[in-house]
């Protein structure tokens, strides 16, 4: 086995790992606090990538939202600013979703919650197709991706973009941890995640706290979409497959463990690159299959994943 090639593949995988970790984190934050798998997370994230796209393109009359973007001073934005704007929009959208669609349902059944998120997925997906077309669009890269833009470590190339994506993800994570540990809202959120009813008894307002949770989650989702839009090309179905990887990552790490989401994303990203490279049948196109199989196997033999809370069923 060629070790340099192996190292090269690992480096290549790290980029996707960051994306999966980020989206998996979004899923985990919501599952931990609301007990709900947000199937629409990927589509919500793609929508914010389109917002970033519009903010980058500026006031173009033929582009949906272009007129609206023209009203914002400073448009067209630079890439980091556009992504920042999109993440803010995503957070607002996430908070609104919680307030308008999830909270009024109360503690409804699994079926009802699945219905809401599936409805959101379908509606958002076809909204994007209608507004911005189904064809792929070029989304500029935030970090230089040219031929020579890499570090060389032991003969393998580690791209600047990979390092950059991890720097952004880790800083966002540090920010999240600081928020959770050192602010009142963070404390309230941790309390609600452990036990909503007890949190309510000691005076935490559960609803608004969950809204913050949704905003944080959607922020991570938006980050995932905006950072990957360059490599996978922006189109309405862009995050559909990424969602499977992210769900596999979240399941592997434990659906209610942020730490697990990070590690799960790393493992799934690596396996996505390494398995097709060494198992010819899988190929690039089918690389999503191992992720699905991994997800099923974990749910079957260890539903709590690596770091999740073990659920105990009383008989």
């Amino acid at each position: 086995m060629d070790l340099v090639l192996l190292l090269q593949r690992i480096f290549d995988a790290l980029f996707n790992s960051a994306i999966y970790s980020s989206l998996a984190l979004a899923l985990v934050i919501i599952f931990r606090s609301t007990g709900l798998l947000n199937f629409a997370q990927g589509e919500m994230a793609t929508f914010t990538a389109y917002i970033a796209f519009v903010l980058l393109a500026g006031p173009q009359p033929r582009l949906t939202g272009g007129g609206l973007a023209g009203l914002i001073p400073g448009v067209p934005f630079s890439i980091p600013l556009a992504i920042f704007g999109a993440v803010l929009c995503g957070m607002a959208a996430g908070a609104m979703t919680e307030r308008a669609l999830i909270r009024p349902l109360g503690g409804a059944s699994d079926v009802a919650l699945v219905n809401i998120t599936i409805g959101l997925l379908l509606a958002t997906n076809s909204l994007m197709a209608q507004w911005w077309g189904t064809g792929p669009r070029f989304f500029p890269a935030i970090f230089p991706t040219g031929a020579g833009q890499h570090f060389t470590i032991l003969g393998a190339r580690l791209r600047y973009s990979t390092v950059g994506v991890w720097v952004i993800l880790l800083s966002a994570l540090i920010l999240l941890v600081l928020l959770l540990r050192h602010t009142k809202t963070g404390l309230a959120f941790r309390a609600v995640s452990i036990s909503p009813s007890n949190a309510e008894l000691v005076g935490v307002r559960v609803g608004p706290t969950l809204m913050y949770g949704w905003a944080m989650a959607s922020g991570f989702g938006a980050l995932a979409a905006c950072l990957s839009a360059n490599s996978v090309l922006l189109e309405p179905n862009m995050m559909l497959r990424v969602l499977v990887y992210a769900f596999a990552a979240a399941t592997l790490g434990g659906l209610d463990s942020p730490k697990g989401a990070l590690l799960g994303g790393l493992i799934i990203g690596l396996s996505q690159t390494l398995i097709p490279a060494y198992v010819p049948f899988i190929g690039f196109e089918l690389s999503v299959l191992p992720a699905l199989v991994a997800m099923v196997v974990i749910l079957l033999i260890r539903p709590a994943g690596l770091f999740g809370t073990q659920r105990i069923e009383r008989i």
Binding site: L36, L37, F39, L101, P104, L105, A108, S109, D110, V111, A112, L113, V114, N115, I116, I118, G119, L120, L121, L122, A123, T124, N125, S126, L127, A129, Q130, N237, L240, R241, L243, V244, F247, A248, T251, F281, G283, E285, L286, V288, L289, A291, L292, M295, V296, L299, L300, P303, I315
Partner: protein, 337 residues
Amino acid sequence: MSAQAPRRFTPVSVAGLIVLAGLLVAIPFLTTTTSLRQATQIVVSVLAVLGVNIATGYGGMISLGHGVFVGVGAFATGYYVGDLQLPWLLAIALGAITAGLAGALVGVPALRIRGIHLALVTLGLAIVFRPLSKRFPSITGGVSGRSIDARFDAPGWWPSDGRMASSVYRYVFCVLIVVLVLWATWNLVNSRFGRSMRALRDNHMAAAIYGIDLVAARVTTFAISAGIAGLCGALQVLLVPFVSQDKYPAQESLVIYASAVIGGLGTIWGSVLGVLARTVLGKAGSALAGYDGLGPLGEFFDLLDESAFVFGVGLIILTFLFPRGLAGLGRKNQVPK
């Protein structure tokens, strides 16, 4: 969910039945070859929705991936009738059985994976299906699909002739099959097995204590539901002898699920109503989108052309207002848990 299937017909359901039967008889007299084929496709799509309804509405296992079984049914039937040269009836039956076996395979993990996690796995399956089927080009035709070298034409004894003869024959054949399956499902859910299915859905612990074999019941339920969805795929091949993976994107599975929910889970008529709603909403949407007299509002109505959008929004609204779906509109205060 306490969906007691009503054994007696209410006046509303009798009236609905008569209207529906009248419509089905009238359709071949009012249409051209193309629109009759479309009408037949709509009738056939009831089966896919019914499949979801059996797994989710009666069995309590959320399935977001029934488009996969429709696809398996279609590909398998295409293979049996086109490559193996089997007679159509046998090929269709085997196609449905193949889909049912695929369903049984998915049903095995469903023994331990439940609720929202099963929804997750089946959604993953729906997303993986297209790339997976591209890996078997000899059966699926790969990226571009392939046409099946067999036609389901009217036999010699068929009374009508001319251009429409085969279209009418296919229509009558499909309507008969769908009615037959609806009737069989009605009997199934009211049988001993149907009761154990519902018991399992409502409280699997209690069901087990009463001696229901959980493993057998769950796997059988999923297999039957997948087989019926596969039958839908088989009949699609009969109508248009062309199979292609791009007929079965993940969205198709989700729209099938949405139809089942909108029509009403846990009632047979819900599946019919769901398909009717999908058709009516789709047609009304494209009519509104094509209408120019709305001024600046017109741009908004363009969205209605996409039935997935209407369905997504409809699914959300219905979950809030009528949790039992269209079929539950007439019934009082029975809210599913």
